[in-house]
Amino acid sequence: MSTLRNKLKPGWLLVLPFLALVVLFYLGPILNILMLSVTDPAPGLANYAKLGESDALARIMWTTVRICIVTTFFSVLLGYSIAYGMVHSSTQKQSLMLTLLLVSFWISILVRTFSWLMLLGNRGLINNTLLGLGIVSQPIEFMRNELGVLIGMIHYMIPYAVLPLLVNMQSLDMRVMNASRNLGASGTQTFWRIYLPLTRPGIVASSLLIFILSLGFYVTPAILGGGKVLMIAEYISVQLLVTLKWGTAAMLAALMLFGVLALLWLMSKFMKLSTVFGGSTQ
């Protein structure tokens, strides 16, 4: 007992209640889901076998992955230019931009999705304007398709893309860019050969973050997709609430969990994850 007490640093006692909370309310349910996926309705791997059998499931998974990849690409691309613009502005402008960014963080996803509804609908602001000006004769289908889902998701994800990139870019030593120019490299060459490689940890971090968050997206695809664009999260909810196939839902949830873990493992093969999350360049 005394040896145990010696090994346990007092700091651990402080986090012990929280640790217990996490185990009880977080690990517990996850294990329960994993159990459900192999026991409901009958013990065995029947739920997982459905993946190979059901075309609908395969289509949903492919839609999900495709939307996540496109969302990640455009969010990081736009986030990169925003972060770049912020780092190279005066301190005053930078804090203004950061405030605007955080404000969009604080607006509920529901509000933001419904705003897009008003903008993109057939009788929405954009289509009404285009029709009124005579630029188009038929309203453009922005909604009830993948385009609408992508617009909504990318818009929501951009702040998440900016923050890791911003931290990364702020930690760069600008003398290194000066050195590049001094050695005769143009601005473009300096960007591709020095700046971009040095911001790679930030790019990886925000891509990972956005891809993982996108995998579980529910509200935006449900509203802007109008039931036509089915992603995993919505399908899980249907299985839980409508068809009551808890086993299938649990299987899909488990699949998403393992997918994320596999992604993290893959990344760790290429770079130290701590540098990704620390956003440092070393």
């Binding site: 000066n178 050195a179 120019r181 001094n182 490299a185 143009s186 040095l198 070393q282």
Partner: protein, 334 residues
């Protein structure tokens, strides 16, 4: 190969203002081809600002810079073809030593074979042949410094700018690298413009030293000229140590090692000029620093070679101070 201009740099009436503050004020300077010129001054004297304007990283507020007769004031940094060793080196952390050194040639789209040959030559020059494939983070400070030097010299620039390149090294290593730098300068004949606040570095390495103060040039000359014939009080006290004597016809500077201490009755190297009492003696091995309180004026600092010390010097001793004619230099101003 890359053409090598003459490397004769002319600075005319150059100024830089930040808001209302003049960091560099109307500087005229000619930098001759192949010389080792040091900009020496305390922090805030404008030496780094001047260097950054030469490099093209700072816009010029007034004046002009010409290279071999042609103005380069409007050329962007990447078109000036000046090598530069940055404070803290600014190596590319994601590239190997080889790629760092070859960068200037690679952005100029030189053939791979030429880059390899040239980089090999540079690696040999700075004696880093065995480190070509390492990343900068895996090198010691001294090695990083040499990579920075090789990178800056790889494209045979007519002028090399060095911004306090030894600031991050410890004292012992610094002396060693000073020797290497001097040696490399001698071998390649490039014009070196070197910024430092370290007077020993300036004295031991340069062909000419520019002492800067408050954005303007205080005095320019060879280390010998500056040390032996300072024209201002600032120059005399910033480069080496100096006593100052107020005489009816003006202020004089007198180096501590030029003063001879003798007992009250014995003769010195010259006529006895001052008499006083020793207030302190500090022993440094090869020499002793003696402070003598004199009746009229500030205490006088005297450096005495230990081996010439005929009698032990103790506090309170009454001594005569003598020096040769011409040892005290008349200053033109503060």
């Amino acid at each position: 190969m890359i053409e090598t201009p003459q490397g004769n740099l002319q600075i005319n009436g150059l100024s830089k203002s930040f808001g209302g503050f003049r960091a560099v004020n109307n500087v005229d300077l000619e930098i001759r081809k192949g010389e080792f010129l040091t900009l020496l001054g305390p922090s805030g004297s404008g030496k780094t600002t001047l260097l950054m304007m030469i490099a093209g990283f700072l816009d010029i507020s007034a004046g002009d810079i010409t290279l071999d007769g042609a103005s380069i004031a409007d050329l962007p940094a990447e078109k000036r073809n000046f090598g530069m060793v940055f404070q803290g080196y600014a190596l590319f952390p994601h590239m190997s030593v080889r790629d760092n050194i070859g960068y200037a040639l690679s952005v100029r789209k030189r053939p791979t074979s030429e880059i390899k040959a040239r980089v090999d030559g540079m690696l040999e020059l700075v004696q880093l042949q065995d480190f070509a494939d390492r990343k900068p983070g895996q090198l010691s400070g001294g090695q990083q410094q040499r990579v920075a030097l090789a990178r800056a010299l790889c494209f045979s620039p007519p002028v090399l700018l060095l911004d306090e390149p030894l600031g991050a090294l410890d004292k012992k290593l610094r002396v060693e690298v000073q020797e290497q730098l001097k040696d490399i300068h001698k071998r390649i004949g490039t014009t070196f413009i070197y910024v430092t606040h370290d007077q020993e570095e300036a004295l031991s390495m340069s062909d000419r030293v520019v002492i800067m103060r408050d954005g303007a040039i205080e005095q320019v000359g060879s280390p010998y000229e500056l040390y032996e014939h300072p024209t201002t009080k600032f120059a005399a006290s910033f480069l080496g140590k100096s006593n100052f004597l107020q005489r009816p016809d003006g202020l004089y500077a007198l180096r501590p090692e030029k003063i001879d201490i003798c007992g009250v009755d014995s003769a010195g190297v010259g006529p006895i000029r001052l008499t006083g009492n020793i207030s302190s003696v500090t022993y440094f091995g090869s020499m002793q620093r003696v402070i003598v309180n004199v009746v009229d004026g500030d205490p006088i600092e005297v450096d005495v070679d230990s081996w010439r010390n005929k009698q032990p010097l103790t506090e309170g001793m009454k001594v005569n101070l003598s020096w040769q004619k011409g040892a005290a230099v008349k200053l033109s101003r503060d």
